[in-house]
């Protein structure tokens, strides 16, 4: 970025004032001195630039003339090489373009590479305050500035806080000697868990005691339970025996009752239940037999009373034919009259048709109808006749047209001239036309003329050297690079010479100053030593006189002598001091002389080297001076380029001409091969015309021949079509005649043309319908008459069979009578058959009941035999006795089982034995004695269970070993956390350490280049009083030290104020160079920071500014006129701007 113009439109004491720094000039340092006396507004302008870049500050002190609302600073800034008008106001969107449109601040942030106001002030916008404060910051290598100078230039400046954050995160877990860390906390948790564990251990003995108690109670419970069980068993036994005694008594009673029934036989058990049913069955069946016999007798009597009409009955199924014929006769009588009318109508229609066909006398009209196939064939033949005739006519006409066209084509071919064969003419013609030799030749010719002119001019420009281009090529000249190097060295040596001369001047000025300071001598040594001795002896003599006399005159005399001696001694001491000072000055002069001698030697060496280089340069080419050599070499290169271009153009011309000749020759050869004489065509254009005409003629001839061949083909096709049409017509005629011959139409002879036959066919189709209707009706009438006759015959036949022949009656009446008689005979026959059926049913019923009676009677007989009785009543009694005996047996078995169950024995005999002579009374007594005992045991057991519950509650309250396991788990969890976080901690610490080391190494790399630059600037500014700058390790890193020329090192704090300021300036200069190298340059602005510099150092500082101004813009504001003069002398090309005091 660069400031081209600063407009102080309304700011501080300025109104519409403008500082125009102008564009940057090539080869000139971009150094601007702004001169203005006090109160002219230098500091205001200095602040205005800052406010332009960063916005006007809230509490700006520059609102004394123009209020905040109206303050306005403008500028023309060069951003990335492009000038841009910008305006800064106080309110709203404060940055605007020249038209007042808001502009984002970012463009300035980018141009300043993101430096904020504070950073820019400390680095590159310097007044006395920021020079010192920023410089100290840099020296301390801490704070933003230190990092900026060493780190910003590459953007790593803000890593340190992030690293610090990570480090603090790691420290959050562990920090040597730290309190409240995560590790401490976890260890505390661990300790707490351990204490808890120990507390639980103290409870262990109590726990054991409780466990013992519980064990005791459990033992007691077991003992009491066993005792109670014994008691319970005995009680149970007693209860069983008491129950068994009645059961035994019941058993014995039943055995006694069984004895009288021992002789009874056995009977099936079902008998008892079946007996009543059996009695009932026998009774009921006997009654049914009597009823069936009575019904049979009744039915037999009715059957015998019945008589039948047998002849009529035989005809029952023989009347079907008669009835059928009767029905037909009835229909025929109704239909016949209408059928006969229909027949007459059909015959009338037929006659009409025959009339139209001119065949009225035709015996058999059916003969006239053609069959379907013949009719279709005839119709098709009639239709195709018309198509064939049209076809034939068209073919004949087309044939005639084709013949005519062909004759015309043949005529055209015969009339045309014979043509040439084009052969190879066409490819040769295309090659000639497509070739670009013509344009190429023209272009090459133009370039050739142009290059020749330019070459002549270029050779002329090489004066005073003269000669041809080839001589120029052969001339030996040095390389441009070496010439540049020589010139640079020459410049360098000139600079060195100027520096040496300036140093010599300064040293001489110093020596002169020293000489002037030397005091004059005023005392001569040798004479005065004797006078001093005389004065001393006079004083001694006076003193001796005073002691001897002790009076006033001798005292006065001594006083005078003593004063004279004192004066002489004082003068002597002063002289000795002057002499010492004189020697010192002499020595300084000698040192200065030595330094001057060094500088002079350096001057001589530089001037020798410069002369040498100049000789080499001037000797390179005759007549060309050192400074002109480089441009002359450039001109030479240009001339040589032109020479090469000219040669290339000439080669191109020749190539184009060769190509053209070759192509023309090829076309000529092709034309002569085709029999065309091309000798007359001299130019390429004439050749092209000739060849084109030949090709066009050949094409026309070929087209004519093609057309003739085409018309011949068409003619042949047409003739063939005509033949086909003729053939088709002939074939149709033969087929037509054959078809006619197969029908009566041949009788028509020559009348049978397709047209007539077509009309006849339509008429014949109309005849078909009356003919069909006539035949149909005739057939039906005959059939009806036959039906009536058959009916009459049938009735007569049947009447004869029944003996009812009566001629007076009509056939239908007779038939009615026969039907009635037959129906009556059928009714009588049906009644008789029903009676027969009834008799048969009655017989069957009788035999069924007789069979049903047989089975119960057999069963009763079986019972009688088995039980030895003879009535069903006796059977009932016997069966009752047997049932009672069986019941007793079952009861005895049941009682035996009960007894066995009660006493726990397998058999009744064993049970009875086990019971023995048990006495119910004794057992009762024992039971009464045992019951209270069992209850007491129960109570005891309940108490013991309660005790056990209490003991277990106590154990649970103490806490079992599961608490220990839980604590152990927690402890392991905490340990795992410690391990994880410890590893994380180490990982972060290792990473931070690595990053810090890398950052240090990186800074070291970048610092060393900066340090070199700062060191050189400091050496120059201090006029060589210091060799430069160095670093010394310190506990917080490295510190910067100054290295005096006399040896040793000085910390920055030990330097004088002026020297320290110079160090700070040197650091900024180095920073400016570094910034410009890595980024884009930014303007460097300083406000009278050289107040403490002496003139020599100020001058050298201006030289340093000039160096900075070669890479970026430098603006220096001052109120010292002599600085302006010094700058004009020291830095050629410096621009000085006058700041006039505000009105």
């Amino acid at each position: 970025m660069r400031v081209r113009r600063l407009d102080l439109t309304r700011y501080g004491c300025f109104t519409d004032h403008s500082l125009d720094f102008g564009p940057r000039l090539d080869g000139e340092p971009d150094l601007h001195l702004v001169y203005g006396p006090n109160e002219a507004g230098k500091s205001t302008a200095f602040r205005a630039l800052l406010d332009l870049l960063y916005g006007i500050e809230n509490q700006s002190p520059f609102d004394f003339l123009h209020s905040y609302a109206t303050m306005r600073i403008g500028a023309c800034l060069e951003l990335e090489g492009q000038p841009r008008e910008l305006v800064r106001v106080k309110n709203g969107q404060t940055l605007r373009d020249g038209l007042g449109q808001p502009v984002p601040e970012a463009i300035l942030r980018v141009a300043l590479d993101g430096m904020d106001r504070q950073a820019y002030r400390s680095m590159f916008s310097l007044d006395d305050d920021t020079l010192v404060s920023g410089g100290e910051s840099i020296l301390a290598s801490k704070g933003d500035l230190g990092q900026m100078l060493f780190g910003t230039s590459a953007g790593l400046s803000d890593l340190a806080p992030t690293l610090l954050g990570i480090r603090q995160e790691a420290d959050g877990f562990f920090r040597p000697g730290g309190h409240g860390t995560g590790l401490k906390e976890l260890k505390n948790q661990l300790g707490a868990l351990k204490e808890e564990r120990e507390r639980i251990d103290t409870l262990a003995s109590r726990y054991r005691q409780l466990m013992q108690q519980r064990h005791l109670v459990v033992g007691q419970i077991e003992a009491v339970t066993a005792e109670r069980q014994t008691c319970e068993d005995r009680l149970d036994q007693i209860r069983r025996r008491l129950a068994a005694l009645p059961a035994l008594a019941s058993l014995q009673r039943r055995q006694a009752a069984l004895e009288p029934l021992a002789g009874l036989g056995t009977a099936p058990e079902a008998w008892q239940a079946a007996l009543p049913l059996l009695q009932q069955q026998i009774g009921e069946t006997t009654t049914a037999v009597a009823l069936a016999k009575a019904a049979l007798d009744e039915a037999t009597k009715q059957l015998e009373a019945c008589t039948q009409d047998l002849p009529a009955l035989a005809l029952k199924d023989g009347l079907g034919l008669m009835q059928q014929l009767g029905a037909r006769h009835q229909t025929a009588v109704l239909d016949l009259p209408s059928r006969r009318q229909d027949l007459a109508a059909a015959e009338a229609a037929m006659h009409g048709c025959l009339l139209r066909l001119n065949r009225v006398g035709e015996a058999s009209p059916e003969r006239l109808l053609p069959d379907t196939a013949s009719a279709a064939t005839l119709r098709r033949a009639v239709a195709s006749h018309a198509a064939n005739a049209a076809n034939l006519a068209r073919a004949t006409e087309e044939n005639a047209t084709a013949l005519q066209a062909h004759e015309v084509a043949v005529q055209t071919v015969a009339e045309a001239q014979p043509a040439v064969e084009p052969g190879a003419i066409e490819p040769a013609l295309h090659a000639l036309r497509d070739s670009d030799y013509g344009p190429r030749a023209r272009d090459a010719g133009r370039r050739e003329r142009q290059s020749a002119d330019t070459l002549t001019d270029a050779l002329a420009a090489l004066a005073p050297w003269t000669g041809s281009a080839d001589e120029l090529l052969a001339l030996a000249v040095p390389q441009a690079a070496s010439v540049q190097a020589w010139l640079a060295e020459l410049d360098h040596q000139s600079l060195a010479m100027r520096a040496a001369r300036s140093a010599i001047d300064r040293l001489e000025a110093e020596a002169e100053a020293v000489r002037q300071a030397e005091p004059t001598a005023g005392f001569s040594d040798a004479t005065d030593m004797a006078a001093l001795a005389a004065l001393r002896s006079a004083r001694e003599a006076g003193w001796a006189e005073l002691r001897r006399r002790l009076d006033l005159p001798s005292a006065d005399a001594f006083e005078v002598a003593m004063r004279q001696d004192d004066l002489a001694a004082a003068a002597r001491v002063a002289e000795a001091r002057r002499q010492a000072r004189h020697e010192e000055i002499e020595q300084a002069a000698l040192r200065a002389a030595a330094l001057r001698a060094d500088e002079q030697a350096r001057l001589a060496e530089a001037s020798r080297a410069a002369t040498e280089r100049r000789t080499m340069l001037e000797g390179a080419v005759d007549g060309i001076g050192a400074e002109e050599l480089l441009p002359w070499l450039t001109l030479r290169e240009r001339a040589l380029d032109q020479r090469a271009e000219l040669r290339q153009a000439r080669r191109d011309t020749a190539e184009a001409a060769t190509d053209g000749d070759r192509l023309q020759q090829e076309l000529r050869t092709a034309l002569s091969q085709a029999g065309i004489d091309a000798a007359a065509a001299v130019t390429a254009e004439a050749l092209v015309v000739l060849a084109t005409t030949a090709i066009r003629d050949a094409a026309a001839a070929k087209e004519r021949r093609d057309r003739m061949a085409q018309s011949a083909d068409i003619l042949a096709q047409r003739a063939k079509a005509l033949r086909n049409a003729d053939d088709a017509m002939d074939a149709w005629g033969a087929a037509w005649q054959a078809t006619l011959d197969r029908s009566w139409l041949r009788e028509l002879g020559a009348q049978a043309t397709p047209e007539v036959v077509g009309v006849l066919l339509d008429e014949l189709a109309a005849l078909a319908e009356p003919l069909r209707s006539r035949a149909d009706l005739t057939g039906r009438i005959e059939a009806m008459e036959a039906d009536s006759q058959a009916f009459a015959d049938e009735v007569a036949r049947i009447a004869a069979m029944l003996g009812m022949a009566d001629v007076a009656a009509t056939a239908p009446e007779q038939a009615h009578r026969i039907s009635e008689r037959v129906a009556a005979a059928a009714r009588i026959a049906a009644a008789e058959s029903k009676l027969r059926e009834k008799v048969s049913q009655a017989r069957t019923a009788l035999s069924q009941v007789e069979v049903a009676l047989r089975a119960p009677e057999q069963q009763a007989a079986d019972m009688f035999a088995q039980l030895g009785v003879n009535s069903l009543l006796a059977v009932g009694e016997a069966l009752g006795e047997i049932a009672r005996r069986d019941q007793l047996l079952r009861d005895i078995g049941e009682a035996g089982h009960t007894l066995c169950d009660l006493l726990g024995q397998a058999t009744v005999a064993a049970a009875v034995a086990a019971l023995g002579d048990a006495d119910a009374i004794a057992l009762k007594a024992e039971q009464v004695a045992l019951l209270p005992q069992a209850e007491a045991l129960d109570a005891r057991l309940r108490d013991l269970h309660a005790d056990r519950g209490r003991a277990e509650d106590a154990i649970a309250a103490v806490g079992g070993d599961d608490a220990v396991a839980r604590l152990e788990t927690q402890r392991r969890l905490v340990l795992l956390q410690i391990q994880d976080r410890a590893l994380d901690h180490l990982r972060l610490r290792a990473g931070v350490a690595a990053a810090q080391r890398a950052l240090r190494a990186w800074r070291e790399q970048h610092r060393s280049s900066m340090l070199d630059a700062a060191s050189e600037a400091f050496r120059v500014i201090t006029c060589g009083a210091y060799r430069g700058l160095g670093t010394q390790p310190d506990r917080n890193g490295d510190i910067l030290v100054a290295l005096p020329a006399t040896g040793g090192s000085k910390a920055a704090t030990a330097l004088s104020k002026g020297c320290r300021f110079q160090l700070y300036l040197a650091l900024r200069a180095a920073g400016h160079h570094e910034f410009a190298r890595l980024r884009q340059p930014v303007p460097f602005v300083a406000d009278d920071i050289m107040e403490t510099f002496d003139d020599f150092r100020a001058e050298e500082s201006l030289g340093v500014f000039a160096g900075m101004a070669r890479v970026g813009q430098v603006i220096y504001l001052t109120h010292h006129k002599h600085l302006c003069d010094m700058a004009e002398r020291k830095v050629p090309g410096v621009r000085i701007h006058q700041l006039v005091p505000a009105a």
């Binding site: 040597p176 410690i978 990982r987 972060l988 290792a990 990473g991 350490a993 990053a995 080391r997 890398a998």
Partner: protein, 196 residues
Amino acid sequence: VARNPTESQTAEITQLFSGRALTSVAQFERIAVDLTGIENWPAMVGAVEAALHTARSAASSPQLVARLALTGASALDWRLRRDPDLLLAEAQARAAATGGCWIDRVQVATVPLASTPDTADPLDDLRQLMSGDALRDEGYRAELADMAAELQRALPPECRNLLGQSPAELATLMDRLADDGAATVLARLRRMPEPR
């Protein structure tokens, strides 16, 4: 096993390991996920989910406790190291969605893509200075050893073996921690939200 992966779950796992018998209630697996060629966060999450699915299908126990190890060369390297909490949360969410699956922890063992050195980014200079031999420098190792010794003294006696049983083990561990730590710190120093 608890419903969510909180401390109680960790306690359960601890019991499983400290207890003599590894029951079949849960099973512990290391699952490696290769992120080579994966360039963005959602794709990485997808790969993790796929790996969890595969491991879940192969596991026979009703509960699977997974320790994920992310490997391979990926542009996501620095981001995985910068946002470990986010990564763990994503993995746990995927595990919960898979069902019967828990995340013990996620280890990031990826390496950055072999990027063309970007001269405009000074962090690349720093990366160069923080890699390879710089991490094996004797002075640096001594610094790390001091750190380790300091921490060792402060650790409770039960953890004294954490940093290895022998000097050789300690050195190996510290080298690994140095590599990991350098990558982690570099990732956190980077300010840009996305690489490209």
